[in-house]
Amino acid sequence: MATRAKGGRAAPARPAGTFDPETPGSAAALLTREQKLELYYWMRLTRTLEERLVALYRQTKVVGGLFRSLGQEADAVGSCYALEQRDVMSPLIRNLGAMLVKGATPVEVLKQYMAKGDSPTRGRELNIHFGDIGEAGETRGFLGQISPLGDMVPVMAGVTLSFRMRGEDRVGLVYVGDGATSTGAFHEGINFAAVQRCPLVVVIENNGYAYSTPTSRQTLAKRFVDKAAGYGIPGEQADGNDVLATYDVTKRAVARARRGGGVSLIELMTYRRKGHAEHDNQSYVPAGEIERWAAENDPLDRYVRRLTTEMAVEATELAAIDARVTQEVDEATDVAEASAFPEALDALTGVYAEPPAASPLWFREGGRGGVTASERATDGWGVYKPDAKTESRVSQEDA
């Protein structure tokens, strides 16, 4: 395990626990060369796609904020690579890599950020807040997050509870940031899942900061993984910038969940090299810290070194992957840019299954931008009454 850059927090010399009976290193050792290159592909795709998003953001084509996972690609990609397609993963804002591994496509991500009408949420939600879950064979198995931090932990407790109840051979994985561990939802959710022995892996991505708040102001615990004992579950810490280490630790936790062992907690040590979002100038970060992590502990650089030195991968092979990635992102950008923004009226559909659509409010009926009267149309006072226009009290009394 690589040592941490100076000035940063120290990485642990050894994993803290072990998801017995699996032993550390056992899972990663089984990866094929092809799989190892695939890991590289996903990390590169994550980075390139985000870089493209930055360019689009500067062109004001991204509608809202832009969130980066620069320097964290290994933890998202490696951990999610431990899942099968039938498993369900719940990402957070820095888990673009995990979503790609789970089948989200660059064009979906680009359309989401650009709020396009044919984006996965049809322009309703922002950035990577989208998902695809349901039947094992028919869906890719990732769940769209909401903003309030911690809430996905209880939800994933329920998703995995359903696996347990139905005897399905499926596992769940939920990511939380170091900051999100302070929320009540995290606590309630992980405790609930633990006591219900849900097949769930909880991954804490410790990237040193929650927005501007360093981990030292988030908790006094020495390690986030120390929280595991309080829930009666095993916990392991791993080097989040070593993609094979993150794969390994997660794969073992997933195996434990799959054989009915219940919840495991993983803490992946990494570092957020960009601000909370693109607008954040990181003035609160000690001088030199970012640069050291970039220079000494970039997950892609580290993996490239490892692939080329230990695994005899040629630089040309990697360059070919890079080129493929660029081409995919280029193509996705073209498609996303060409697609249309949503129609205003689409806003009205699907708050409930029944009724499937709401009516526009009366002052919008026949109003701006092609808004037409709904089935329940009226131009009476305000609303929804089939008879509001035709009848009036006076005429009724006259009759």
């Binding site: 949420t121 309703r124 809430d151 329920g158 998703v159 006591v195």
Partner: protein, 325 residues
């Protein structure tokens, strides 16, 4: 058919729906071996086992969140809040996660959150609440609050079958005080339809839950003492409101009194008044008036609780004023 209490009617609905659909399961605090604080779920564990009747840790956010997750995957969870007051502890999960799931993510979230609600029982400020207004205000949630045993059963069955999240408020004052005869067969009462609890022509009282009974008592008295014919509309469903039924009664009597047990400011009487203004202003012969609780955290001592909550005498007085207008 034998008469059953409001509470037993709810229990019947749970048994029948668990029997009908293997995806229905219950979760909450002390609902298993103990059968729930009010014994609503008594017998469920014995019949359906620990997989489908889950005693949870004290963590309302986790319970609601887990229900949502399971609902996404095709289950039909029925959550019990030990007292509905503790739904406040799941407010974020309900309003931000559950209510928006279908709209923002096209995720089905068919689940029920039910629990003992309301006052008149000396429960003090944290075991007597009527928190419906905050949820009626949340697009994506449905809200039901029955006043009769028949509706309690029929609406709970409808709620469990609904494709969206339904908050099902049970009035604990009615649990053992009200009885009804259950219709034979699969008795389902549709969500979104109000019920004329008493026909009348001089003025309308629009209400729901325990105050339906106060309104009926008042109507009786007004008929006897004042010769007034009072219509009582039991909303039953608070979201979505039954606009047709509301408008129909306004057009019939031209005078409306709204009665609810919830506090006044921001209670749903305001919403109903606004809708009446918009939909049937011309039919009003008098202002829409409200009889509600005072804007006060509900106190414990009987004299205080009785003062703060709306009583039959208040309804009578207000109805008289309205009739005289």
């Amino acid at each position: 058919m034998a008469e059953v209490t409001y509470l037993e009617a709810i229990r019947e609905a749970l048994f029948e729906e668990m029997e009908r659909d293997a995806n229905v399961f219950c979760l909450g605090e002390d609902i298993g071996a103990y059968g729930g604080a009010f014994k609503v779920t008594e017998g469920l564990l014995a019949k359906y086992g620990e997989q489908r009747v889950i005693d949870t840790p004290i963590s309302e956010t986790a319970i609601v969140g887990a229900a949502a997750g399971a609902a996404h995957m095709g289950m039909r969870p029925v959550v019990e809040m030990q007292f509905i007051d503790f739904i406040a502890n799941a407010y974020d999960m309900l309003t931000n996660y559950v209510a928006t799931a279908r709209y923002r993510a096209f995720l089905p979230c068919p689940m029920v959150v039910r629990g003992p609600s309301g006052g008149y029982v000396r429960g003090g400020p944290f075991h007597s609440q009527n928190p419906e207004a905050g949820f009626v205000h949340t697009p994506g949630l449905k809200v039901v609050y029955p006043s009769t045993a028949e509706d309690a059963k029929g609406l709970l069955k409808a709620a469990i079958r609904d494709e969206d999240c339904v908050l099902f408020f049970e009035h604990k004052y009615l649990y053992r005080r009200i009885k009804g005869t259950m219709p034979a067969g699969d008795h389902v009462v549709p969500i979104g339809k109000a019920r004329v609890a008493r026909e009348g022509s001089d003025l309308s009282i629009i209400t729901y839950a325990a105050t339906v009974w106060k309104a009926l008592e008042a109507a009786e008295q007004l008929e006897k003492e004042d010769g007034l014919s009072v219509e009582v509309l039991d909303l039953r469903t608070l979201a979505p409101l039954d606009d047709d039924a509301i408008v129909a009664t306004v057009k019939k009597t031209n005078r409306v009194l709204i009665v609810h047990e919830d506090t006044r400011t921001g209670g749903i009487a305001g919403e109903i008044t606004a809708r009446i203004n918009e939909m049937a202003f011309e039919w009003l012969d008098a202002p829409v008036l409200r009889v509600t609780a005072h804007d006060i955290p509900l106190p414990y001592a009987p004299a205080l609780e009785d003062f703060v909550l709306p009583q039959t005498a208040d309804v009578v007085l207000a109805a008289r004023r309205l009739a005289d207008y």
